[in-house]
């Protein structure tokens, strides 16, 4: 596919990285800064055009007439929408994807989407907020990804010391715990792998499980983790993410307090979120935090615009409370280092945005056979979990799983039939109409048949 990416910031870079893995994409990037374009062209096998994408000549030079997808992740919403509008007028067949982050635009997003013919609109703040809300609903989890329209989850958690799971073999799990849960991935230190039956779990491992929502809470009760959702949330930083998040939390009856530094913004939030408590003050001031009752909150979310502040705040909060801690990190480059701090859940908006778009691009390509319904990066981005819809005549349908010759490092994690998940065993068969969740350490699977040798 011919893909044009406008804007070569962090998200742009992440998109290039993800999409250029897949050999068949011809990627062209547009950025106003020449040195940024040069840098990207040196790093990846792509073409670069330096110039303003609102200039019709620049779009033509980037080959808009042959483009299949145009992704705008430039600085401002207006720019992104404007470019998408022009692109669509220049090439009717080009699918346009725009990043739109202002809440007031997002209110009318369906209108804008339809009028401009956008294929996809991504609002990073909203996406991030829903991801955080999901984790707060289930505080034992570090990360939750949903499949099958929200019915199935892949959920990551850390095995605490002295837990029943510590020292248990995977093959013993059904008999000892007796729930419908499948371990689909393990992270131990720097390593990530798909475990086999005789794998032994150790304390400190990060385990990803696949299960339906009910089975998950059942499972957690059995192993003695807390399953109740949080009751109140303390948010530091009152940006757009905080607004969206507070909205979601309040709707599900959670008590929200937001600490924001700017008086003006506090007043704005006060009008926008009548049910939340808005505090004006410097969230990095630990006295203020204690005064506001940090120790009593059972969740703490740092959403300021400065990564260093968020990390420090969360470290401090960790020392003061046993509650759930969520940290937003903008810079994706230092993921490894931050992971070592054991902050609990860290959220990378840039990764989430890129993931969302990559999923769309990859799914768009598939028209025949089976389709990608959902895709998430799991195991710290080292693996992918893909949900495929199986169509009539697919090479893997109507065969016992035992008889399928799968590639290495692939796991069929769940078969979903008629809204119910089945944990796959050797005798099970995949039928047309099912959706199947596949976990793989390889990248770039586009069709369910790719899992076969």
């Amino acid at each position: 596919m011919n893909i044009i990416i406008v804007g070569c910031g962090k998200v742009g870079y992440k998109l290039i990285e993800q999409l250029s893995y897949e050999e068949e994409h011809d990627i062209t990037i547009i950025d106003t800064k020449d040195e940024v374009v040069q840098g990207a062209v040196n790093d990846y096998d792509i073409m670069g055009v330096a110039g303003s994408a609102t200039d019709i000549d620049t779009l033509n030079e980037a080959g808009i007439d042959k483009a299949d997808v145009l992704i705008t992740v430039a600085g401002s919403d207006e720019l992104n929408l404007m470019i998408c509008l022009m692109a669509k007028k220049l090439n009717k067949n080009c699918q346009t994807i725009a990043r739109v982050r202002k809440p007031e635009y997002f209110k009318a997003i369906n209108l804008i989407k339809e009028e401009l013919g956008l294929a996809l609109v991504i609002n990073p703040e909203l996406t991030v907020a829903s991801e955080i809300a999901r984790v707060l609903r289930f505080p034992s989890a570090i990360k939750i990804d949903t499949f099958a329209k929200g019915r199935i989850e892949i959920l990551k958690f850390e095995v605490p010391k002295g837990n029943v799971l510590d020292g248990m073999k995977l093959s013993d799990m059904p008999s000892k715990i007796g729930t419908h849960v499948l371990v689909c991935g393990v992270e131990r230190g720097e390593e990530a792998f798909i475990p086999s039956g005789n794998f032994e779990i150790k304390a400190g491992d990060l385990i990803s499980i696949v299960a339906s929502i009910n089975d998950v809470s059942h499972f957690f009760k059995k192993i003695g983790n807390r399953t109740n959702r949080v009751k109140d949330a303390l948010i530091v930083g009152g940006g757009d993410t905080a607004y969206y998040l507070a909205n979601m939390l309040i709707q599900s009856g959670i008590n929200v307090k937001i600490i924001e530094q700017k008086q003006e913004r506090c007043e704005e939030l006060f009008h926008l979120l009548p049910k939340a408590t808005i505090t004006h003050g410097d969230g990095t001031d630990n006295k203020l935090l204690m005064e506001e009752g940090l120790a009593e909150f059972d969740s703490f979310i740092s959403l300021t615009n400065i990564d260093e502040e968020n990390v420090l705040l969360s470290l401090y909060a960790k020392s003061q409370t046993n509650g759930k801690i969520v940290t937003k990190i903008n810079r994706i480059e230092y993921g490894n280092v931050i992971g070592e701090l054991q902050l609990g859940t860290t959220i990378y908006p840039k990764n989430i945005t890129a993931e969302y778009i990559v999923r769309f691009v990859r799914a768009k390509k598939n028209s025949l056979g089976s389709n990608i319904e959902t895709m998430h990066f799991i195991l710290d981005g080292k693996a992918e979990a893909l949900e495929f819809r199986i169509k009539e005549g697919s090479p893997i349908s109507n065969k016992k799983l035992l008889d399928l010759e799968l590639k290495e490092n692939i796991l069929i994690a769940s078969i979903n039939r008629g809204g119910k998940p089945i944990i796959p065993r050797g005798q099970d068969m995949i039928l047309a109409g099912d959706t199947v969740i596949v976990v793989t350490l390889k990248e770039g699977f586009k069709d369910i048949s790719d899992i076969l040798r």
């Binding site: 011919n2 250029s20 011809d26 062209t28 040196n42 790093d43 990846y44 096998d45 792509i46 073409m47």
Partner: protein, 479 residues
């Protein structure tokens, strides 16, 4: 420095060289030159053995940066020339190894300067290999490698930049592999077209192929002592046209065949290129009245010579040593101008000349009005400061290398014109110069030292200075 990746790439270069020797091998088989068949097989075996050893281990870290790119390209070309000289040396066709090396470097760099006094004495297989080196060197062996191999993901652009000529090399399409394929596709198509036109014009198949190889790479090795002089006017016109075509930026052909025709009209370099050619032909035509018998003959020889020198091919239909002084000076000036960037030709390149002249004009204007904001523009867009700076540094290094090389070869005590044009002809990858190294002469009289110096001049010229300089700089090898 990623040594493993450099060695691995060099291994593949050798394997490609072995594969390319199949062509002269088949040629020798056809002409029943048993000894040469054996020699080519031996050389192929050597290349394959060394190549396999080098590329035995696929490195895990495939990252290549600018430094690795330059070093790989420089090493590749030196190594290709060393191994490429083996058939000449081992078969005894050129008994002295330095001579054989000079001849091969001259081939790969598409120079066409020869130390052979009697070309016709060579066997058909050796002649075929000699011409083929032009064809391989014209577009570049690493570009070819990129077209067929998934070498490494991301560092390939540096290889392309280091091997392809021009002040700013860029890709035609997003994928470097597709870019390399397109370049070779155009190259092969044009070569095939020329072979057909010459073959149906009554030339033997052998001559059609060898001379087309020489034209395509803008090389200049012929198969006869008199170069192109003995062939029919039709053949001479065909070669003239194709020499000039191969001197054009290949990305413009891509634009011509795949939409974007406007790029052709926009290209200042193309306009300047044809402008200089036409002007030179006209000037020499007027100046050399009385040298030729008929106007047609004058036009044919003059356009051939201008095309040949400007594109740095170096074929000759006539001895321009006998032309009036003004005409000869024009030819010497054309030697320096060279062909377009992104073509198979050598020289300083028309686009660099344009940038240079515009820099001068800019400097004059800013001296007169110091507050004027001025940027150099080409093809309707601003030329980046980096590019301008690159061109200036290129020119400075070029002049320094030129005079150092001339100083070294003047130890042989030949006259000034010979020395000056010998270096001009080698560093610009042309072939013949004036006086002793003119179209009827050759380079055999120079000492071993001078031949080595000129071999490096040719490599420096073909790779546009910096890859070779980097190889000899201690900074490159520091951590």
């Amino acid at each position: 420095m990623n040594y493993k990746m450099i060695v691995y790439t060099l291994g593949w270069v050798l394997k490609i060289e072995a594969a390319s020797m199949v062509i002269p091998l088949v040629c020798s088989l056809c002409y029943k030159e048993t000894k040469d068949v054996f020699m080519f097989l031996l050389c192929m075996a050597l290349c394959v053995i060394f190549g396999s050893v080098f590329s035995a281990v696929k490195p895990k870290n495939k990252a290549m940066y600018a430094k690795e790119g330059f070093v790989t390209v420089a090493f590749s070309w030196i190594m290709m020339s060393l191994f490429g000289a083996l058939p000449f040396y081992l078969s005894g066709a050129i008994p002295n190894f330095i001579d054989a090396f000079f001849e091969t470097v001259s081939g790969f760099t598409t120079t066409g300067a020869s130390i052979l006094t009697d070309v016709e004495a060579l066997s058909k297989g050796m002649l075929m290999w000699r011409s083929l080196t032009h064809w391989i060197g014209g577009m570049g062996v690493l570009v070819f490698l990129m077209a067929i191999l998934p070498l490494s993901g991301n560092g390939n652009l540096f290889l392309l930049r280091a091997e392809s000529p021009g002040p700013s090399v860029s890709k035609l399409v997003p994928k470097i592999k597709s870019t390399a394929k397109i370049l070779y596709g155009i190259y092969i198509a044009f070569t095939a077209l020329q072979i057909m036109l010459m073959f149906f014009g009554g030339m033997s198949l052998f001559d059609s192929i060898t001379l087309s190889f020489g034209t395509a790479g803008t090389g200049g090795f012929g198969t006869r002592n008199s170069s192109i002089a003995e062939y029919s006017p039709y053949i001479q016109y065909v070669i003239t046209v194709f020499m000039i075509l191969f001197g054009v930026d290949f990305s413009l052909y891509h634009a011509l065949f795949f939409g974007e025709r406007k790029a052709l009209l926009k290209s200042e370099e193309l306009r300047a290129y044809f402008g200089i050619i036409l002007l030179s032909i006209a000037a020499i035509f007027i100046n050399s009245r009385g040298v030729f018998a008929t106007a047609e003959e004058a036009f044919r020889h003059i356009s051939f010579s201008v095309g040949s020198i400007m594109t740095t091919t170096g074929y000759a239909t006539t001895d321009f040593n006998l032309w009036p002084e003004f005409s000869k000076v024009i030819l010497v000036l054309l030697m320096f101008v060279g062909a377009c960037a992104g073509s198979t030709g050598g020289g300083i390149k028309v686009s660099r000349m344009i940038i240079l002249f515009k820099s001068i004009a800019k400097e004059i204007r800013t001296s007169a009005h110091p507050r004027t904001t001025l940027k150099i523009k080409m093809n309707g867009r601003t030329v980046e400061h980096e590019t301008v700076r690159g061109v200036n540094v290129f020119m400075a290094s070029y002049v320094v290398i030129f005079f150092v090389a001339m100083l070294l070869i003047s130890l042989d005590n030949f006259d000034f014109t010979t020395n000056f044009t010998a270096i001009a002809a080698t560093i610009n990858n042309i072939g013949p110069g004036l006086n002793m190294v003119g179209p009827t002469g050759n380079f055999s009289a120079f000492s071993g030292l001078s031949k080595v110096v000129m071999s490096f001049c040719m490599l420096i010229g073909r790779l546009e200075i910096f890859p070779m300089l980097l190889l000899f700089s201690p900074y490159t090898w520091k951590k």
